[in-house]
Subunit: 440 residues, 2 copies
Amino acid sequence: MKSLSIGLIGVGTVGRGVVNVLERNKNEISRRTGCNINLVSASARDVNKAQAFLGENVKVYSNPLDVVKDPKVEIVIELIGGTTDAKSILVESMRVGKPVITANKALLAEHGNELIDLASQHNGILGYEAAVAGGIPIVKALREGLTANSIQWVAGIVNGTTNFILTQMRDRQAGFAEALEEAQRLGFAEADPTFDIEGIDAAQKLSIIAALAFGISVQPNRVFTEGITKLEPIDVNAAEDFGYRIKLLGMARRVSSGIELRVHPTLVPEKSSIAAVRGAMNAVLVQGDAVGPTLYYGAGAGSEPTASAVIADLVDISRLINSSPDQRVPYFAFEKGQMSDEPVLDIDDVVTSYYLRIRASDRPGVLADISRILADNTVSIEAMRQREPMGKDELVNIIILTHVTRERNIRAALGRIEKLDSITGKVVMLRMEHLDFVNE
Amino acid sequence: MKSLSIGLIGVGTVGRGVVNVLERNKNEISRRTGCNINLVSASARDVNKAQAFLGENVKVYSNPLDVVKDPKVEIVIELIGGTTDAKSILVESMRVGKPVITANKALLAEHGNELIDLASQHNGILGYEAAVAGGIPIVKALREGLTANSIQWVAGIVNGTTNFILTQMRDRQAGFAEALEEAQRLGFAEADPTFDIEGIDAAQKLSIIAALAFGISVQPNRVFTEGITKLEPIDVNAAEDFGYRIKLLGMARRVSSGIELRVHPTLVPEKSSIAAVRGAMNAVLVQGDAVGPTLYYGAGAGSEPTASAVIADLVDISRLINSSPDQRVPYFAFEKGQMSDEPVLDIDDVVTSYYLRIRASDRPGVLADISRILADNTVSIEAMRQREPMGKDELVNIIILTHVTRERNIRAALGRIEKLDSITGKVVMLRMEHLDFVNE
């Protein structure tokens, strides 16, 4: 199998996420790219600490530019943040013809126009999926997925810190200061949170989104920006009385006279998808003239979610380098010869939880019989409720939610339950999925 | 500018959508691809009708294979449905080395494994974004956006007809038959709805999703499939009592012993994003080990949403053909030299609606004064509420939601309101966005 050598600049939270995910999903990723991706060098402020984390096989420099110059390095990943050194790294990578990946929204917002001019001159490759909305592949959606559309507007929750604070203010009826403190305590806000709470981070991301959506230059300074620091609980509550939630929304909208770019606390209808985005999650809503509304939701920050986007760029580039252009992306996502024959399970072997509706005579002992049969088959009951008969027959509906179990156990139990004298007809059985994470 | 000639097989609902969107967004699409896309030939069962719709410049055949053979055609789009003729079209396109795009999920589910083998042999290009979840770019997300991840599971509402019926059953307390009738009346269900309501369409899509997520072959016959025809209102209501909604969910999950593939009515927590997907909309939830949960939402069917996905494939292919591989996708989505200088508007020129909180003395005439000033500035009131003072001062909070207006009008009005004797301090002003579509 081919191999590809990468250099990592910055071994902080996201850098470590990249290393961990590349290692853990090595096999899965090489099935998708047809090549092994190897970290050969890195740079970090604390060389010893980075060396201890990365192990002997990775050369660790203190100067980021040494990574770019390292002849073994084929692709550069910049994860140091800031805009001065980071810019030098991108410029130098392009100059020496090495593809470069960054998660640096500030860099792209401030110098994006200049950097893409330079990239064009050098025929360079620049990946920045991680710079907007972390793990959500929104750059790809806008650059490639929605290309048929004239984009009408984009509305996004693109800053997790402020969304976390707003969620706290609402859930706990907390003031801004108190909610900020809680966010800091839990690691969702920095010690100096200005950049997030004043909307600057969101405005930078919005300026990149607008460039992608409308084909305008990146103009962070033209984004009208208002943070959430002045929000008071009375306004959160009053908005709620009218059926709205308050979110820090980034809006980019095309109107006849030009483009609106603005980040500010915004009332959105409580039933809209955007209103349901809780905690530190992000979501971007894109309105295209052909497709209508589409929404992209996920983690907008954090070690591994951001690493997910960085590595997606890495996979894109390694596919470019290693494949004929026509075959860049494997037809079914994995390389030919890398399809697996993992078995698809019979339904009897599926493990999930269940809703049961049992029609029974309303007489003593029925519930005991049912409970015993379920227990005999190792099915445990999460909740049970009896519904009064709706018609004139004397039957009641017993509704049971079960804990997780194997389908064959449920089927065996139902076979026996349906044979009870007190039971009429077949038991209605529906499956349940908790999809827990959505509500965090 | 370069140009690219395409042939369209099938001029039905989706085919017309493709023609309309390509025409309407001609300029936008060529800014993204650096080339003009021209429809040169087509085939349709009713040649005259198609000719009338497509105009004189398009050659219309009755035999689909004549489109593939047409020497002018560089890319073939197959939109006839069915699996026999459609398969011949794909096979023939690959044989003659023409990229081919299809929206045909049945074809891919039944013959996908064979077709990608053939595509590999011929080094062919096969686009099928439109085959799964219509306008949502989920194929791209799975093949490219989430490649860093070991996918743990995918749960999707991928059939709009059944989701529409389930939404009706819940909203109107309707039985299945009645809800189906309503769906048919409104054009959301076919005269023969079997394919949708029995879950077969969803199972086909799920089998493609599973191949993309796990790198297994496409196995529609291994999907455990149960439709929604037996659902009764009592179960919809009982589920709701426990805090759940019933959705026709497609689940593909990797567990230690293999892969679960199943489509069936499923109870999902009412607060989950999936539960909020109403009407004919689709949503796909993907759980990756690095990124965590991500969700993709949009229209899963219909003329222009499906055309959006077909044209996204077309743009991908034209970028491949017309660019150096490294520059396949423009850095900021639009081609160099195609960036526009549309003005970013000043906030004064933004048009939206507003939330105002005004602290006023509780005395007669205050509301009249405020209303008059708003009216003078052409701001109309949507709702108004007065909140009792919370502290001991004698001030009340007057909360006003306005209809849409220009920001300069609001600012002018607030300037005058703040000068009224009865008003204390600055007016709190927040902006509102209705994002209407989300609730349909």
